[in-house]
Symmetry: C2
Subunit: 349 residues, 2 copies
């Protein structure tokens, strides 16, 4: 067993608190990682507060993990001690179903094992990256590009792949007009990737004060989505829209901005169902779709791409002692654009 | 002017009655067609009863028209007197927008001119095929395959192309598992085309008595959609589903039967919006889409395909004097699978 410490939720209402626990002993195909940084994803908060149900306390969230290899199992081939590595939302999957064989582990027929609040092969609850050590099956460990800062690349493991994957799947490239709806952790990465792929990028936000930020990130235009006249200018013109908003919102308004055969892809999970009229998809043969993180091969491809093109996330680094404050600020979207925990702060008194 | 007679609605509530009117004089690029048969589409009824709004009375419905060329304008090249021809849902479009140039006239940026209850270039209201003559711009006239019965091929012009187009667009072929939701005028053509393209075809119906009919049409399996256990067997297995139902229904139930990256395409316009949860499309990267008839080139392609493969609609031929009774039966889905009006009955006393 590997002695670990982290910050855990003990129920849906109380603040996260320090927690000592054991990671499993290193198996033959396991990698033992000393965690350096862990991003804070909005889903951490949803899970901790049991807003999606099924929370198993004590619960250590965190699935945007970067760090260094501290030890490897006897059969591990890809990694050696000292390597800089990452772990995202998944730590295992069945490996046998059609989706796993197609490198789409995120759609594993048996459900992938999530990095936290999931049940592993031994029946133990998985614990996430707000902690100093983690033991992960080699296959689910990613290689981090050597010259990217580990604190800025941690959120690539969730926010990065969540936006990269659909933009790649729908083959976004030069000549495409792409909308990015919402400018948070996901949205800001959507802007960076879509620009990098050569698209004409339009950010949709409800907040006029985000306009300058969006342009600074590389967006070519910004539309204040509450302004009907601004919206109207873009009717039937988009090839693709990436909808990163997880609050309730009118998806039909955005669908109307798609060209014929265009796709609106949701990556933010709104708590309430959307109202979609048949005519909205029938007229123009438009598509409403969604995307969930990405498979392991694609995640590595994304990391390599980011390494090559110097793409990382804009983050605010915090010591773990400020986690509960960070959650409060996250609820107010008061962060540009991702909080990342400096795990070395765990040893602070 | 060309003297014509037909059956028209004079308001939203009264039965259709005989009506004498003028068609425009033959222009240089016009084709004058003597109508032989006209199919009855459910949208005729919606329009006549003003359920979609905008009804302009007197209103002669009908957009599944077959007949013979009686005269051609001086510049008409494709047709000569005596040719067997068809007219579908469109009689004109702008011709200049991106969609028109891509042969997707159904998505014309200015809106195509519908065969009835639409305004033509001269500002006159168009009148449909429940009548003995029609004058149509050459480009919007289709060539009927010579050896298909004109009464059985009339509904190809709407029900046929509406189902053919999405099955072609999503490249349905051997090895695909395809669901056809609903077994009416559209559904029965969906079954015929999907089978003809080599797919494994599963019909979904709420009516157990339609099971034998579906199998006779070529379906490989039939699922009674009210039976949750039957539905469950097919979870995550469909490549494509064609949803022909225009009554309110739970689309999410069907989306759950799609494989990852599968598409549910709506061709029936439900009067109320559908409730679609983000998670339904996010998990499995599933697509909700729609399709509207088809462009002119594709409609001709479909007719040629039907000629080659001997595909027509199953119809019940009626004299025009029975139109109001047919509407009542249509509302009860009491027809296999399309009523077609024998226009020669207009001269009956």
């Amino acid at each position: 067993m590997i002695k670990s410490i982290g910050y855990a939720a003990f129920d849906a209402l109380s603040p996260l608190k320090p927690y000592s626990f054991d990671r499993r002993a290193l198996g033959a195909t396991d990698v033992h990682i000393e965690i350096a940084f862990c991003g804070i994803c909005h889903s951490d908060l949803h899970t901790v507060r049991n807003e999606w149900g099924g929370a198993k306390y004590p619960l250590i969230p965190g699935h945007e993990i970067t760090g260094h290899v501290k030890a490897v199992g006897s059969k591990v081939k890809k990694f050696k001690v000292g390597d800089t590595v990452g772990v995202g939302c998944m730590v295992n999957s069945c490996g046998h179903c059609t989706c796993c064989k197609e490198d789409l582990q995120q759609f594993c027929a048996r459900g992938f094992t999530a990095t936290y609040n999931s049940t592993d092969a031994e029946g133990k609850t998985t614990q996430g990256g707000y902690s100093n050590h983690i033991v992960v099956e080699e296959k689910f460990v990613l290689t981090m590009p050597p010259h990217l800062k580990l604190e800025n690349s941690a959120p690539l493991l969730c926010a990065g792949i969540t936006t990269y994957s659909p933009l790649r799947h729908w083959k976004i490239t030069k000549g495409h007009k792409v909308g990015i709806i919402g400018l948070g952790g996901l949205g800001h990465m959507g802007v960076k990737f879509a620009c990098s792929f050569g698209a004409h990028v339009v950010v949709f936000t409800t907040s006029p004060h985000k306009k300058a930020d969006a342009l600074k990130l590389g967006a070519h235009e910004v539309v204040i989505s509450k302004n009907a006249d601004e919206m109207k200018i873009h009717l039937n013109t988009f090839d693709f829209m990436l909808d990163t908003v997880s609050a309730p919102h009118n998806v039909e308004n955005y669908m109307s901005l798609l060209k014929h055969d265009g796709t609106l892809c949701m990556v933010g999970a709104s708590p309430e169902p959307h109202q979609i009229s048949s005519s909205v998809v029938i007229r123009g043969r438009k598509n409403l779709s969604g995307s969930l993180i990405g498979g392991l091969a694609e995640t590595q491809e994304m990391l390599d791409y980011c390494g090559k093109h110097h793409i990382t996330c804009d983050v605010e680094l915090i010591p773990i002692q400020k986690i509960n404050l960070a959650y409060e600020r996250l609820l107010k979207s008061d962060v540009k654009y991702r909080f990342v925990i400096d795990i070395s702060s765990l040893s602070h008194k």
